[in-house]
Subunit: 284 residues, 2 copies
Amino acid sequence: MNAYLECIPCFFRQALEQARLFTGNEIVHKEIMNEVAALVPRFSLGLTPPEIAREMHKLFEKRFEGKDVYKTIKYQSNRRAMELYPKLKEKIAQSEDRLLTAVEFAIAGNVIDYAAKNTLNIEEEIQKLLKGDFAAGRKGVFEYESFRKDLGEAKTVLYLADNAGEIIFDRVFIEEFCDNRKVIFAVRDKPVINDALMEDAIFCGIDKIAQVISSGVDAPGTILKYCSGEFLNIFRQADLIISKGQGNFESLSQEKRHIFFLFMVKCPVIAKETGCKMGDIVLF
Amino acid sequence: MNAYLECIPCFFRQALEQARLFTGNEIVHKEIMNEVAALVPRFSLGLTPPEIAREMHKLFEKRFEGKDVYKTIKYQSNRRAMELYPKLKEKIAQSEDRLLTAVEFAIAGNVIDYAAKNTLNIEEEIQKLLKGDFAAGRKGVFEYESFRKDLGEAKTVLYLADNAGEIIFDRVFIEEFCDNRKVIFAVRDKPVINDALMEDAIFCGIDKIAQVISSGVDAPGTILKYCSGEFLNIFRQADLIISKGQGNFESLSQEKRHIFFLFMVKCPVIAKETGCKMGDIVLF
């Protein structure tokens, strides 16, 4: 999908939050705001939000020489999610429809998103999840039957990861279908916000159940023109693609491949684009 | 108070909302976002938010040749508030402490603010107001006793208006104390957002109870360096100044004059600055 003009204020807000993680120096924060402002005329409305976010991210990469300022946050998210793993497995074991519960969990894990964090209370969402009323009344578009059918027929599944921590929720989901098929789990190539990297996937044990690869992209989304050849081959050949998170949706919504998008609606622009409400969980 | 870096995303949001009122042409919207972006490096952190808003407003003034795009909105706000006038008077007549009820109403009127409207539901607030539970549990700093005492001693009161519509609420408040003292009611000089102008004050009958003057300023605040000589004389000599709204607070919070600020906390920056919560009503 193309960026909306509403994304511009949001980019400034994100840039400011990130700048504050990198340094406490307010003069530097203002310089970064000036640099983001200088990018605005280049933000064509024909670009997707992750393409713009990538440009913005390059400012940080250049200024802070690639420092992974979310490293600790990602580690904590992974650890926190790992603690939940046994409970998630237990809930799935008790549920009437294991796959449905697992896919709901996978979407629930999508609350762990620092780019949109100001609108979300992660702990509250997790408590809802464990009580079992997470999905109640918040299903937007939710094409579960069609997903179950297509998954049943797929021999290879490409799974596009989103955030660190969240990937534990992806893991419990993948564990419901990886026995009978090949799963390829794609992560970002370089640190970008709290998006999952190879090290997060390994830390969370995804490499035990799927083939973990890098998409080749250093943006908070799967921008095909920047993806590696290896990734593109799999992207073109996989029977089914599962795309997690808003960033992957934003960059792939216009692709003609057979993709199921799973995410929580976290901003008004995505709500408008999908016809859903803020906080809705979607699968389509 | 000086602007915070958090104000920058908010300026873009406001610029976009205003741009959409002026025209439906998305290319023009983007051009305006580019123009606002070009101002960002000039947004010194030593400026107050209304000073920055004034620069931004000049872009619209230039592009749309001073067109008052909020004219209809202001007229509707005035009309809607006029309808409430008899009810407000009735509530005051029934109350134990007329002045307290009137000052609460004056602050309640401050919900009518299109610059911050996305966080407020005006009709809902008005319903709360008429039910009498508007102020319950939301008083931040509220120095009413000190205000009552100082008002009792004041012979001249300068009242700094904020928005159209809201000024009806100011009127019922002023009617509680204008019999024994001279009240000067200052409005903006030129159209800026939905801020009250001379025509709004006259439409709402404020000229019957107070001397209405222009502050000389074409910004959503009272920036003294742009005020007229007439206004500044009154500003320096009045026994008491009542300042309505965030914009006037933002531009006058560092002045050494005897000013009571009345407003509703509508943004996280003002919440931080005042130590209050979003939605709190303040008088200090």
